[in-house]
């Protein structure tokens, strides 16, 4: 492997990547310092992580516009590690933690090497959301007192700490004499909140955290040069950075490597780093203007190497970060060189301006951090999860509480446990609730018309989502995929969410992902990502208020062509039962019914559910049928694609009727009916030409109406459109006045 294969030596792209890198470095610098302080380690640890991460991952990684550096998710783990491993001695704890970081770097490398990166998709969505919000709340809890300039607040657990912190924040607002340090913190936090709403173009050229840095340094200079007063903030509330960059390099101590606690920390770091990185990479790929897919496993390997090196030099773990990466994309970065350059800029800043950085009060950085914590746990997240459904909201809250009370890994485990409980409750009445999650449940094959057909069976949940993901990932661009979920009993939120994400991804790649077979599933809430449960027929009528995406699209289509559309199932469908096709079948109900008129002919298009067989051998089928009433009477007939067997043997005494002068038509189509003479008259040249020039449909007449369908399954949106078009065309050609059935004969 060429080491530099990732660097694009396309010189044209360098200027825009450089400028993007510059802007990103303006965020990375204060954030790096802040995250390190919040983690309870020297500020330079964050800077080392930025520099090592940027250089290593840009050279060895597999992503394009992702920025790497210290991540906010890990603050909580590192802080815990430093306090618990050191046993009170923070410096010693720091050295032990560095050793844990080195080890987790190796673990991350192995995850990438064995291609286990996909496993992060096997966590339920609500649990991941809960974990992130929990981390956000912990950051807020730990940073508010720094922001206010108070001495450290202690509480038995993070939940109480959060409570105390918020209480002290409210107290602070009532203070009569506000200390400068707290003022700076509150101002910095306020600035972070209002900055996104400012519309001044030049102001926004520089990111908000950098304005804070510039502001507080300016504040310092004011006291230094213009004011007669002393600088009102004591040194202990300021950042302290060694004068020389090399002084900040510290080497880890491996003497705790045989302790159980040490490995718990290693696992925590690895897990959180992997989840945060993979979530970020996935999210950034969606923003990439060139629609490239990152090689996540290669990226994880690079992140692992970078984490180990960073740990060796005294830095924080390296992860892929979403906020900085999206700024990178917004400033039109095009390849990984911007990640490289941003590390370079940060290095230059700390080497040249370390004196100025020493003027930054901690509370200003705490303001930035509280804001990032707020972003992770903002009320919008709670609202969103509530909309996902009460079941998901419960899982989400349980994960947050678990994270706050018992730590990150326990939080995730509690979330998974709750997800399983919720699913068991939802499925309690279904016979096949507990299928083996390791059993394959997907099938992908190409249909005759080149579309890919992907069918899923049984329970589709986060436990076996990887099966589906692997299939979806293997689909190259520019394909039409039909995802059939009609054989599923249950589809959970995580799978639904991921399917919807795939739909967006496919759209970007000129592919289409159509979902069918969900119309008979009940939703747990009104949200598109809501879990679906297969309904027994009795309940479908009462709960039909909610509609699927397919139904939504059908509704739009109905509006377009001025037909009415109703999703409600109807039990009585007499007109269909008169068709020979349904003679030995029992129609259960029809739903998704279009009604319209064309040339004065009433037509209907609907999904029909019917049975074949009885009792234990009863089999359920679904079909999309177009039917219309004829103006004049015509003979009974059935028209199908002719298959080899039909050619060899006639069936049930009805043999293929050949129309003289149309040998090709007779060869390709199987035309059956009793009144041969009239049928021959009915199939005029024009009608035959029409059938020949269209795809094969099953067309059947019972004398007074005609019904048409294509495939023995529910039609997709595009197939329904084609069917409707075919049907309308057929209406125009299908009602000639025939000699035998002329009005006077009737």
């Amino acid at each position: 492997m060429s080491l530099l294969s990732n660097i694009n030596f396309d010189f044209k792209s360098i200027p825009k990547n450089l400028s993007a890198a510059f802007v990103v470095s303006l965020i990375a610098l204060p954030l790096g310092l802040g995250l390190a302080i919040a983690s309870g380690v020297p500020p330079m640890a964050g800077i080392i992580s930025v520099i090592v991460g940027g250089i290593i991952v840009s050279l060895f990684g597999g992503s394009y516009v992702t920025i790497t550096g210290p991540g906010n998710g890990l603050v909580v783990v590192i802080l815990l590690a430093v306090t618990s491993l050191g046993g009170g001695d923070l410096w010693l704890g720091y050295l032990y933690t560095l050793a844990a970081i080195v080890c987790s770097g190796i673990a991350l490398y192995l995850i990438g090497l064995f291609r286990l990166g996909n496993l992060s998709d096997a966590f339920p969505s609500a649990t991941i959301q809960g974990l992130l919000s929990g981390i956000g709340l912990i950051i807020i809890a730990k940073q508010i007192h720094v922001l206010l300039g108070f001495a450290e607040v202690t509480a038995p657990n993070n939940l109480l700490l959060l409570w105390e912190s918020i209480a002290s924040f409210i107290d602070f607002v009532d203070y009569e004499e506000t200390p400068w340090i707290g003022m700076i913190g509150v101002l910095s936090l306020t600035w972070m909140f209002i900055f996104p709403r400012l519309r001044l173009k030049y102001l926004r050229e520089v990111p908000a955290p950098m304005w804070i840095v510039i502001g507080v340094i300016g504040f310092h200079f004011y006291f230094q040069f213009f004011s007669a007063n002393e600088y009102p903030i004591a040194d202990e509330f300021l950042i302290s950075i060694p004068n020389s960059f090399l002084d900040s390099i510290v080497y880890p101590s491996f003497s705790k490597i045989f302790h159980f606690d040490f490995w718990i920390i290693v696992i925590s770091i690895t897990l959180i780093a992997a989840i945060e990185s993979l979530l970020s990479i996935k999210a950034i790929d969606k923003l990439d203007s060139e629609n490239r897919r990152s090689n996540t496993n290669k990226d994880l390997k690079a992140i692992g190497i970078a984490t180990s090196i960073s740990g060796f030099l005294g830095g924080l773990p390296v992860v892929a970060v979403i906020a900085r990466s999206s700024v990178n994309v917004n400033h039109s970065a095009s390849n990984s060189s911007s990640n490289f350059f941003h590390a370079g800029f940060v290095l230059v800043f700390v080497v040249l301006f370390s004196n100025y950085l020493n003027m930054i009060p901690l509370s200003a950085l705490a303001g930035i951090l509280v804001y990032t914590g707020y972003r992770l746990a903002s009320p919008a997240h709670f609202r969103k999860m509530y909309k996902w459904g009460k079941d998901q909201f419960v899982i989400y809250l349980a994960t947050i509480l678990g994270t706050l009370l018992f730590g990150l890994i326990s939080g995730v485990l509690i979330g998974i446990l709750f997800t399983l409980i919720v699913q068991i409750i939802l499925l309690r009445k279904q016979s096949q609730s507990f299928t083996n999650p390791f059993r394959p449940n997907t099938l992908l094959f190409q249909e005759e018309d080149g579309k890919l057909f992907l069918s899923v069976k049984g329970n589709a949940t986060f436990l076996n989502y990887l099966n589906l993901k692997r299939k979806l990932d293997s689909i190259p661009p520019k394909h039409h995929v039909i995802l059939d979920l009609s054989l599923t009993n249950f589809v959970d939120n995580s799978v639904m969410e991921n399917i919807f994400q795939y739909q967006l991804d496919f759209k970007k790649n000129d592919s289409i992902l159509e979902i069918i077979g969900l119309d008979a599933h009940e939703r747990t809430s009104n949200h598109p990502f809501a879990a679906r449960k297969y309904l027994k027929l009795t309940s479908i009528v009462s709960k039909s208020g909610l509609i699927t995406v397919r139904q939504q699209k059908l509704k739009e289509f109905a509006k377009e062509i001025n037909w009415s559309f109703k999703t409600n199932p109807i039990k009585q469908i007499d007109e269909l039962e008169k068709f020979r096709f349904f003679k030995f079948k029992q129609i259960d109900h029809a739903y998704n019914i279009f009604k319209g008129e064309h040339n004065g002919v009433k037509l209907k298009l609907m999904d029909v559910d019917f049975y074949e067989g009885e009792l234990t051998t009863r089999e359920r089928h679904k079909l999309t049928i177009f039917t219309f009433k004829l103006k004049n009477r015509i003979p009974e007939f059935r028209l199908d694609q002719e298959r080899i067997f039909d050619r060899i043997a006639g069936f049930a005494g009805l043999k293929d009727i050949s129309i003289p002068g149309h040998e090709d038509f007779s060869k390709r189509f199987l035309l059956r009916g009793k009144d041969e003479e009239t049928i021959k008259e009915y199939f005029s040249d024009q009608l035959i030409l029409f059938f020949e020039s269209n795809s094969y449909y099953h067309v059947e007449s019972n004398g007074t109406s005609i019904m048409v369908f294509r495939k023995q399954r529910l039609a997709t949106i595009s197939e329904i459109k084609a069917l409707a078009f075919f049907g309308v065309q057929l209406i125009e050609r299908s009602s000639p006045v025939l000699r035998n059935y002329a009005p006077e004969n009737k």
Binding site: P440, F645, D646
Partner: protein
């Protein structure tokens, strides 16, 4: 019974009924009743009464009488305990004495089948399965015969990780498809009288045994024809299901296991 008679008639075969258990009076009456309702004339068929363990008796009798096709009723899903301990139908299909037809719905009683799915693995036994499937399709006027070959996704060496590897994997897949398609063509041609049947080839990337079952379910097939297992399937295979076990644990339709060599 109905189906057995219909099948025997359709295939012009001699019907042998095997009853395992004691020959009690009420059993005899019931048996006669069933025969009558199924329209079977007692003199036309051979009836064997034996005692012993059902599976063993059936197995031995099939061998002794040189029976070609054993017909058994089965249910689609079995209770968990039953599955792991094994029912008569399942135990026999794991180690069949002869060809075996598991019936879960009496569609076979109809004179016409809609579609038949048959496996197309590159294997010596496949030829037999194909010829049996073709024979059935001719007798039952099946519209479609799907010859399904399952290829393990592991055969595609390239791991899909980004756009480039996706492209490589796709090319590799297409190559495999092309060569397998050619092999399948040869295989089908080697089976006599395959010309007059509408055969559809399907090459599916997926777990062997599982995918064909799922395919049969999607296509609403009426009959699934499979090779007999190469070795006796043991207890452990039920915990780590492979090939046939996937289908046995969740029968998609009637299942015919072809075993000509025994």
């Amino acid at each position: 019974m109905h189906e057995a008679r219909r099948i025997a008639e359709n295939l012009n075969a001699e019907l042998t009924l095997i009853h395992v258990g004691e020959q009690r009076k009420e059993d005899l009456d019931l048996f006669d009743e069933i025969l009558e309702s199924a329209g079977i004339v007692k003199e036309d068929v051979k009836i064997i009464w034996k005692k012993g363990k059902t599976v063993k008796v059936l197995y031995d009798t099939c061998k002794e009488e040189k029976i070609d096709l054993l017909i058994l009723g089965a249910i689609q899903h079995e209770a968990v305990l039953n599955y792991y301990l094994g029912s008569v139908a399942r135990s026999l299909s794991r180690n069949p004495p002869c060809s075996l037809l598991l019936i879960i719905d009496p569609k076979m009683a109809r004179s016409k089948l809609n579609s038949i799915v048959v496996n197309g693995h590159q294997h010596l036994k496949t030829k037999d399965s194909l010829s049996v499937a073709f024979e059935f399709s001719r007798k039952y006027e099946a519209n479609n015969v799907f010859v399904v070959e399952e290829i393990s996704p592991k055969k595609v060496k390239t791991k899909i990780e980004d756009n480039n590897s996706l492209e490589f994997a796709q090319k590799e897949k297409e190559n495999i498809l092309r060569s397998e398609n050619a092999k399948l063509d040869l295989l089908i041609k080697s089976v006599p009288q395959s010309e007059d049947i509408s055969i559809k080839k399907k090459i599916v990337f997926g777990k062997r045994g599982y995918s064909i079952g799922h395919f049969a379910e999607v296509k609403n097939a009426d009959l699934l024809v499979l090779n007999s297992p190469d070795k006796k399937l043991g207890f452990l295979d039920r915990f780590f299901p492979n090939d046939l076990e996937y289908i046995l644990s969740d029968l998609p339709c009637n299942l015919l296991i072809v075993d000509k060599n025994v």
